[in-house]
Symmetry: C2
């Protein structure tokens, strides 16, 4: 099976590529080739038993080589993130919508309609603090990023109905703890308040301690994306969108988990309210009742303490090196 990862240079794209390289298969099928596509050519992955090509280019002018003719599975993770799409309307529309059109147009030309796993987002919903949305909740986004994700879900479901491809759209929670550096996502601080203290660095918290957020770990997000790529989609019917089983936690819960793992570390978090950031993340629902995903075999979320420990196990050394931090 040949696989392409669009946004293959990003955080989740690299995780998926590493898992595929390590395991050599997706579900029960051996991987025979992998393309990583991003704005600049992604880092190659070590240790794979199959060829990997790393391509750079513009998603909207998607080259055929990004999704070769015999591709069976496409991970479409390429996106302009929330704060950036809010700051630059045209850029968000171009990448998040016209980019998705380009993916559909390429998939239509393949001999067999490929599975397309698309990362939609909790930001495609509103409801705010205290919300517990069910699987049939209406998407009424409170930001341009969420709007573009919700529209792309619709368009991918239609492309599936037409037989152009076989889409599964996962509305990912806010992924915590992201390794590396702060990015332009409005939700970036949810990772930073755990990551930066674990690196020995100070960071700012722009919302109150009792702010509740719907999160998932990088490990869980990767598991879900691989499950979405391998699952039998017959059970989905016309509804190609899935809200996977994340975790509703408060900032206070997160800081308590940090303290449990690294006593004293939470003192590095300063309270600096930011109305613009609070306005964006405050519109997202703080919880879901993800019954459908559970029935479809998406794995339950681990506890918060495990999530913090997993960053230490999986990412701390690489993040320290990447950011040239001497300890």
């Amino acid at each position: 099976m040949k696989i392409s990862i669009l946004g293959g240079g990003g955080f989740l794209g690299q995780r998926i590529a590493n898992r595929l390289a390590r395991e050599g298969r997706l579900g029960n099928v051996a991987v025979t080739g992998l393309v990583l596509f991003d704005i600049v050519p992604p880092r190659p992955i070590d240790g794979a038993a199959f060829p990997i090509s790393c391509l750079g280019g513009d998603l909207v002018d998607l080259p055929a080589s990004a999704i070769p003719d015999d591709t069976a599975t496409v991970f479409h993770l390429a996106a302009v993130v929330s704060a950036q799409a809010e700051a630059d309307f045209e850029l968000g529309r171009r990448v998040n919508l016209a980019g998705t059109d380009a993916v559909i147009d390429r998939c239509r030309r393949l001999a067999q309609p490929p599975r397309v796993v698309f990362t939609s987002s909790v930001a495609s919903f509103s409801g705010g603090q205290g919300a517990r949305l069910t699987d049939n909740a209406r998407q009424l986004p409170a930001n341009s990023y969420g709007t573009q994700k919700a529209a792309a879900e619709l368009i991918l479901a239609d492309a599936t109905r037409r037989g152009f491809l076989d889409a599964v759209s996962l509305r990912l929670p806010t992924v915590v703890i992201r390794p590396g550096r702060p990015n332009q996502a409005a939700s970036g601080f949810f990772s930073a308040i755990l990551r930066e203290p674990l690196l020995g660095l100070t960071t700012n918290l722009p919302v109150p301690d009792d702010f509740e957020v719907w999160i998932c770990s990088p490990r869980r997000a990767t598991d879900w994306l691989l499950h979405a790529a391998a699952m039998d989609t017959a059970a989905l019917g016309a509804d190609r969108s899935i809200t996977p089983p994340g975790l509703s936690v408060t900032v206070a819960d997160m800081l308590a988990a940090l303290e449990a793992v690294r006593p004293g570390a939470s003192a590095l978090v300063g309270r600096v309210p930011d109305a613009a950031v609070a306005q964006i993340v405050g519109g997202w629902p703080s919880g879901f009742v993800p019954s459908r995903a559970r029935a479809l075999g998406f794995s339950a979320h681990e506890k918060l303490a495990e999530l913090v420990q997993a960053f230490i196990d999986d990412d701390l050394v690489a993040t320290l090196a990447d950011r040239a931090i001497i300890r």
Copy 2:
């Protein structure tokens, strides 16, 4: 107040233009100019006390003259209809989505964000026979036209939130009785089974007599569109979409109303099942509970017999002439 009607050559565009010409005002404000824009220059409207310009062009390459700088209200009715969007995916996407982007981009450049009244559709929902959807029902379209309408609603709501314009999206029921000729809408037969017999012509019914459909009259659709243009939108909040109070009727109800007005006419309707048409219209919900629209002042629907009589009063002579039918 200056007004533009995109799709001004179409059935509803011409109705709105005629109403504005006759009344001279929209809500409490005098109309000072009207632009009718369509693929080919629309027919001019007689009897207006304000200047009317009729322009032809491509919606996606929208000329600035289609929405002049001091425009206060835009009716965005231009669309590729359901059966056509199903037959030609690229054309539907281009007009129904890229066209809406072009409208937004032009509105952003005006001195004041204009009211934009957009015609969305019952086809943006699924649920089928027996459904009674509430205002918070999720849009899970079963066809490309409905998908494009639902996505355009999302994008217009976001453009409103950003202050580019002030959108009201009306999810119109199937409009019955459309005058003129059969069009490429999959729902066209719902008008034809009343219109053609009233013209003395035979026509085909592609669905069973007990098929239930959510309809509105041209008079009611025009009233609703004008109300959407004049209403105070402060009460809408972030949700810019409204399901107006249509009527759930069966085909048998419609044929009985025809018989009551013109005894014997329903004998001109032949039963010729059409699976492709039935598949499209069978996906649309057959009813709604339009509480929000009622609270927002959208007028209740008249009875079916009045709808049939209104076609005779408003459209029969013109339709006979247009189709060169001698009686």
